[in-house]
Symmetry: C2
Subunit: 215 residues, 2 copies
């Protein structure tokens, strides 16, 4: 059955991006280290047109991640890269370059209307009437496939609070960032129940945790 | 060599106690669930005079924890239980009962002077001249043994910032608490480096993570 999920790398202190993000450093100070486990894998490199890379647990999990959805929802800052206000330049293509890695319809949560943008095999559509609307469009686009809430933290929180997010995959990196965007914040007085479905440790120091969300 | 360490159970959203702690519920709302993995073990039960309990990974790790230090430092609220202000009653013995589980010298960080308190095999000494002083006394009491920073979150943060804490053991419970005392907070702009030394998953859903702290 089609499901809604999120899959993020998080520091031990709970951040999915470090402090002070910029266009040059969209994951904030130290944030690149969150994905060291991923960037070293053969699966990630192959999907980005690169050769080589490590096989093993991390690569197997990266491969799942790459093939795990048929539509994506993301927040505005994740599209534009850190704090960069793309609204000032309606032609700006975000920081994903000419061949974004999604290769599926991506729905961007924003307050600024904008024409859809096609880059390589990825289409970005900009949704101004709220999170539920964006998710509805993504579900429709995904058909029988899954919808990925790609981030940032606020978008994931929104769908955790609404109860729409049913699968949470967290890769805990062995680092402290000390500040930035905290993934599991603002969940309210009655946060959802979790049921762990998988826990895998890797020689890289990343811990891959999967949970079913909700009662 | 003698070291300084901390060993705590943490929710996936980073809390070592839930919101609104009281004397009846010193770990806050939902906080008891943090230790479900521990309370079910044969090792924990044995050290608390109870029979039965589960063997396996969790129990092995509980046993390490029980035998892992020769002196302990804790914050005032951890001694008194949640928000209970023991200063109002100089005879109050905290919420640890007549036979606290430490069975070693415990140094309590506080601003209120108080005579030492012996309960069973545990002695509580109250230190009013700061965290470094308390740690110095604990090191002396531990001799060649290790010093445990038992909590709460603020005490652990203090010794992470000062660089004294060298080993961090975190047991991630498969729950969200949504609020309370966050362990890895207030670490400043330049949080310490971690090196993962162990990661063990358990059928209970707890993940046992160990890190060496500092460059």
């Amino acid at each position: 059955m089609s499901t809604v999920k999120a899959d993020l790398s998080m520091s031990l202190d709970g951040y999915v991006a470090g402090p002070n993000p910029t266009l040059d450093e969209p994951l904030g100070e130290g944030g690149e280290e969150l994905h060291e486990w991923l960037l070293a894998t053969r699966a990630w490199r192959a999907s980005h047109g690169k050769e080589g890379g490590e096989t093993g647990v991390d690569s197997d999990i990266a491969e799942e991640l790459e093939s795990g959805s048929d539509a994506t929802v993301m927040g505005r800052r994740m599209f534009s890269g850190g704090s960069g206000p793309w609204e000032d330049d309606p032609k700006a293509s975000g920081w994903w370059g000419e061949e974004p890695p999604f290769r599926q319809p991506v729905f961007v949560l924003t307050h600024h209307e904008r024409e859809p943008l096609s880059l390589g095999a990825t289409t970005f559509e900009f949704v101004t009437d709220g999170a539920e609307s964006a998710l509805g469009l993504a579900r429709e686009a995904a058909g029988d496939g899954d919808v990925q809430i790609a981030g940032g933290a606020e978008a994931v929180q929104q769908y955790l609070r609404s109860g729409d997010l049913k699968e949470l995959h967290v890769h805990v990196a062995p680092i402290l960032l000390g500040g930035g965007a905290r993934l599991l914040d603002n969940l309210g007085d009655d946060p959802p129940k979790l049921e762990q479905t998988r826990a895998v440790e890797s020689p890289s120091g990343a811990i891959h945790l999967s949970y079913r969300v909700g009662a």
